[in-house]
Symmetry: C2
Subunit: 225 residues, 2 copies
């Protein structure tokens, strides 16, 4: 009880601060004082700051990857035999993320922001940790994408997947800020669910765009030369 309380308080504080400020910009002292916990508790319970970062990710990524696996199972069963479509695959992922049990209303934003940070902040140890812990659902998602876009060459698919990941990671990682901006500019409230509902069609359309050769630069100095 006492232990898990301290551990959870540290994880909660770390999660929030990491999402707000990034990893290297967040010190253990910030975390422990926000968690109202002694500084040494982090090293006692987790061993190091890097291990704490891993624990923060594991806490939401492990249940998420389980949810995702069953969502993919359901999807493939429903399609029995036929490969799921691109839209179905993207929605399976999106819904798994959205429907995850949240600790609080900002849960999804934090979750997304941390994923985005993991992708962009060049923390070698984190990338290695995520790769060896969660390669299975990631690989399965990639396989589904491949089967859903048989018309693409491997190279085209590779780059378009990167574009999709980028659009998602960036948007979600700053979704709070972007929502605030929109609120100020147009007076519109937006939920994470609505962002996802706009993102998925954008990604699907980009993924299925006509071949690059069909839309070269218009009459310009480059193509004329």
């Amino acid at each position: 009880m006492a232990q898990s309380d301290t551990v959870d308080r540290i994880l909660d504080a770390a999660e929030e601060l990491f999402a707000e400020r990034g990893f290297s910009e967040t010190s253990l002292r910030m975390i422990t004082s926000k968690a109202k916990v002694n500084l040494a508790a982090v090293n006692y319970h987790f061993g190091s700051k890097n291990a704490l970062i891993h624990a923060v990710f594991a806490r939401f990524l492990t249940p998420f990857s389980a949810t995702l696996e069953t969502a993919f199972d359901d999807l493939e069963e429903r399609c029995d035999g036929n490969p799921p479509t691109l839209n179905q695959t993207l929605w399976a992922l999106t819904e798994s993320a959205i429907r995850m049990p949240q600790r609080n209303e900002r849960g999804i934003s934090i979750f997304m922001r941390l994923l985005g940070l993991a992708y962009t902040q060049s923390q070698g140890h984190l990338r290695k940790f995520l790769e060896q812990e969660y390669s299975q659902p990631f690989g399965r998602f990639m396989r589904l994408l491949k089967e859903a876009t048989p018309e693409l060459t491997a190279v085209d698919r590779y780059w378009r997947i990167q574009f999709m990941l980028g659009a998602t990671a960036f948007t979600m990682s700053s979704s709070d800020a972007l929502r605030d901006i929109l609120q100020n500019k147009l007076g519109v409230e937006t939920s994470v669910q609505e962002i996802a509902a706009r993102l998925v069609p954008f990604l699907a359309a980009g993924m299925q765009a006509p071949d690059k050769l069909l839309t070269p630069p218009p009459e310009s100095k480059v193509s004329v030369a």
Copy 2:
């Protein structure tokens, strides 16, 4: 001569290290030792580490924004009266970036990566600096996008622009790594120009995707309930 040599050496080293490792992960000592320059030189010439970051951005962003303005001038002149299309606008931006005079062959990658970092690393001072220095070309780009997509609602356009920025910033900011991965996986070499040639159609297609209501989640627990 002596001064500008030291200043440039600092800027070169800082640019490269910032692009490689991020801002807070790069110390002044790393920079000065890579530049073969005394530690105090940074504070002497720039005043502070933050000011150095600003200088790094200003060195490539100022000529770039000039190039971009004339590219937009050319484009609008060629279209006389009519608003440029989405493709034309995106290509004007892309070509301005690609055709910038580079200090070396990695110039574009560094340029892109720094822009991506500016977007993701939550460096308040940097965002403020960029906003007040380069709001004009950015605003003009936004205006062109708006005129090129009159069919979109303001809210839809807002989000789709964020998706575009995300896909671009992310891809370009890790373009070196992504190119290496592709080289290892499929044995394919890719230039930054080719990435751009694939990215623009992806973005244009996403931007012009059918309305979000037309592609709701397929038959799933959510939409059924």
